[in-house]
């Protein structure tokens, strides 16, 4: 791995398992197949950051069908989490995490920002179909790393790199088509990352007063989430908006009932 940032290498003993990246201050995401040499009952891994800092972590949830894994750091990382985003057709993208310093950085254009894709694990994912200008014929070592959309003031996280598509005439060689699970897909797959589960509790409140009170509690509680580096500002704003909408929607429905 090269460069300093929120992307990491996952290591077990002396063996590098693959790439991953911080999604929040505590959670690291990777492709499940990067951990195929890690026994199912073994959870302890090391997370190596680009500056050489090694942190202990535990595998939280492995999803072989969706080819995604969530890992939790024992201690929060001071490295800033990325800003998550969605992409559009023809957006320029890059994969900042390279297997070795001698490997090139991948980049290209987004072909499909949200396509339905059946990954090798068998699950149907909402995926990015990417065209890469860096034609290597084999992209081994790049999976599990982040995919970023390049914008005028920096980069935005849009997915996790998972698969290459083979050249149909030479199946041993990869085409320049790559697939990545979108950030939305990652968040939907893991309960630990879903604000939706939290705000579904709104539905259980009988009265408007109870609803507003619960919403207020959540808003107050969310003040600490960013301080604890669980979420970045964008994610926090999205959750607060979701809470506010749920309160308003719930109140209207209950008034009309």
């Amino acid at each position: 791995m090269t460069g300093h940032g929120y992307w990491v290498v996952l290591r077990r003993g002396d063996v590098d398992l693959g790439a991953g990246f911080l999604l929040t201050g505590r959670f690291v995401v990777t492709a499940e197949h990067c951990l195929r040499d890690l026994p199912a009952d073994e959870r302890d891994v090391h997370v190596v950051f680009g500056d050489g800092v090694v942190r202990s972590a535990r595998v939280q949830t492995r999803l072989p069908d969706a080819d995604l894994t969530l890992i939790m750091l024992d201690d929060r990382s001071p490295v800033p989490a990325p800003i998550a985003d969605v992409s559009s057709v023809d957006d320029p993208w890059r994969a900042p995490c390279r297997p070795r310093p001698t490997d090139p950085q991948l980049g290209g254009q987004v072909v499909e920002p949200e396509t339905s894709y059946t990954c090798e694990g068998g699950a149907e994912l909402t995926a990015l179909q990417l065209r890469t200008d860096t034609v290597l014929g084999d992209y081994s070592g790049y999976s599990g790393g982040p995919v970023e959309r390049i914008v005028h003031d920096g980069e935005r996280l849009i997915g996790v790199l998972l698969e290459q598509y083979p050249d149909r005439q030479e199946p041993d060689r990869a085409s320049n088509v790559l697939f990545a699970a979108t950030v939305g897909e990652v968040i939907d797959r893991f309960d630990q990352l879903q604000s939706a589960n939290l705000v579904n509790a709104f539905r259980e409140k009988d009265s408007v007063d109870e609803l507003i009170s619960f919403g207020r509690q959540l808003m107050e509680g969310s003040d600490g989430w960013q301080g604890e580096a669980m979420l970045n500002l964008d994610q926090l704003a999205s959750i607060r908006l979701h809470i506010a909408r749920s309160v308003v929607d719930g109140a209207i429905k209950r008034k009309l009932a």
């Binding site: 590098d16 081994s140 790049y142």
Partner: protein, 106 residues
């Protein structure tokens, strides 16, 4: 074969399951001790010889008679392992062992 040497020699192996070919984690070359796979290699060569013999005897006409496998030649690559020992590695893009059978009329 000396026991110590036998355990130091490994043979390169591949996954038969085609799954994972689209996944792009780092690829690792896998190997097994030759002593553990020796029986399978011998069985494979015997089976190939048997296929040649039976196909010759099943053909029609005089030409099918009097043939035998006169030699078996195996080609393989050798890679020195980083720590110790050697790996019998790929002889071609696909195969670890290339086996050539020569048949001749008795």
């Amino acid at each position: 074969m000396d026991d110590a040497w036998a355990t130091a020699i490994r043979v390169e192996t591949v996954e038969l399951d085609a799954s994972g070919s689209r996944q792009i984690a780092s690829r690792r070359r896998t190997s097994s001790p030759l002593v553990e796979r020796r029986q399978e290699i011998e069985q494979g060569i015997r089976a190939a010889v048997e296929v040649v013999r039976s196909s010759l005897s099943a053909s029609d006409g005089e030409d099918s008679k009097g043939w035998r496998v006169s030699s078996v030649e195996a080609t393989f690559g050798i890679t020195l392992a980083a720590e110790a020992g050697v790996v019998l590695s790929k002889a071609s893009a696909e195969a670890t062992f290339e086996v050539t059978l020569t048949v001749e009329r008795v």
